[in-house]
Symmetry: none
DNA sequence: GATGAATGAGCTTTCATTCAT
DNA sequence: TATGAATGAAAGCTCATTCAT
């Protein structure tokens, strides 16, 4: 469908050029239509990118949720390392989406910026909640304080991995 | 000096709006001159931002170096936590520069992108080299492999801190 | 019938936005169809508005003629004041059409402009003819010159009434 | 000065094509510059036309005021006919401005519409006030009611003259 | 009769840049 | 040093129109 192709092209262009740098012309050309035709599907550039953001975040979340459920049964060490591995795999496989989303955090459209930061917070809370529950079930002997500190640790490592992936490597 | 004020304004605008979003007009207005006057000091927008990038990276490096030297004498634990603290302090104090530099990594000007990724690599190498040296001096009993893994650990945590700082917090 | 509804919608839109401001989309939406469907009934925008103009002018003329015939029997004073009253009633009742027609006089489509000015002239001539005939029949003692001047007078007042109605009052 | 030339060109174009029909390109071409250059003098199309409106209304008012003062000394009959003559002369001499202003009454920009109707009201009030004063001074024997009715009469004739001028004649 | 999808032409506007002063 | 005036290029967007279905 043209509409879906447009969203994919938007993601690719946003990733490569940022919001201001991505142009309706380039996106249209990538899909094989003329710029004016985009307006049949989306009200304007902002609307197109809002939908693109939704797609990216939904994809990210479903990806993370899937991994988490797959690994719930394992021991702690395996759980952690598999989660990190899945972060790495997701962001490596969908480089476009990750780059787009990093760029979007600094989007000039405050709604988008807000939506993404809100998503990041929700995601973090969800992750912390899940880990809290799983760890305390497997290790009833650990104090909540200790678990909390473990999770912070994990989050730091995850973020570091993400950041390292995003910029020190080949994601250009 | 007007030229320095222009660079500062450029950093601020780049940080807030990205390369494409930052305009010569806005930068000029911030300095209190007219857009045409910028061209007396810089050949073009790209040149202005190249200088801005240089200033940011130099500042970052001198800041990191200073902390490192201050903390060299301490024990390992203190060294690590003070380094992390100084990363935090630097990026919190110079939010503008950090935001500009995150934005610049995705700059549409490949020279700038290249320069920054090159800097990040050099910086990382430098940091790894320093830590390697310091740690092996203080703990001759540790195998190089072990040290290397410790350092990776530290880098991950540092990156995670940086990323968390940049986006999950208030850097808007 | 859809075609008639389109003409009415066209009149309303032309009245409110002028020829350039009225869009096929807005007209279609008002009728509850899609823009493309208009082209089943009319060749293009110009054709649609030409038909709208015809409807308005025919309506105006039949309205004026009716009043004239109703009042022919009365004395001069009553005739004049009733005619003025009927001008007022017509333009107040069919504000849309009047506004559309004022706008159309300045239409960028010279055919329409020409048609309307031609109509106004024909209408004026008809009115003058009718009045001439009626007055000279009722007042054989009046010289033609005197009658002519009386009629001019009446026309001026009628125009003034029309103009005042159109713009100094509530026709917004 | 370019700015003044722009306003004159705007008036001419607005008169000929209406607000939507007048384009920045045509206006620019008429002045001998490129469309982009207009934005050095005016923020946008709306701002340009707001200034054009101001110029037209100010010109109209000063023109009317001048005539009125010139004729104050004469007897009533002369006063009235000279005023009508000056309305005629003004609108014939500055056809452009008159056409622009008739078009603007139906402007899609509600601010402009409002400003003009407000002006028309103020102008009418001013005229009524002036006439009231002058007539009652010259003819103390007339009852206010009678004077008021005389003035209405005059206004009607003036409007009719204006309307007739605007549309039944050659103002195309 | 009606419409989904597409487009060409043209619009307003922005912006980096130039250049004479 | 600084700027007023101008511009080319390109952006986002609108709209009348077409055409296969």
């Amino acid at each position: 469908m043209t509409k879906d192709k447009l969203i994919q092209a938007a993601i690719a262009n946003f990733a490569e050029f940022g919001y201001q740098g991505a142009t309706m012309s380039k996106i249209a050309k990538e899909v094989g239509i003329k710029p004016a035709s985009i307006y049949y599907f989306f009200d304007n550039k902002e609307a197109l990118f809002k939908e693109a953001v939704k797609v990216i975040l939904a994809h990210h979340f479903s990806s993370m949720k899937k991994t988490y459920h797959l690994q719930k049964e394992e021991n702690l060490h395996t759980l952690f390392s598999e989660l990190l591995r899945s972060i790495l795999v997701h962001h490596t496989t969908f480089q476009n989406e990750t780059k787009a989303y990093v760029t979007m955090v600094n989007s000039p459209i405050s709604n988008i910026k807000r939506e993404i930061t809100a998503y990041l917070q929700r995601y973090n809370q969800w992750l912390v909640g899940q880990l809290m529950h799983t760890i305390s079930a497997k290790h009833p002997e650990l104090k909540e304080e200790k678990i909390s500190s473990l999770i912070d640790y994990f989050i730091f490592i995850g973020n570091g991995l993400f950041w390292g992936l995003s910029f020190t490597k080949k994601m250009n």
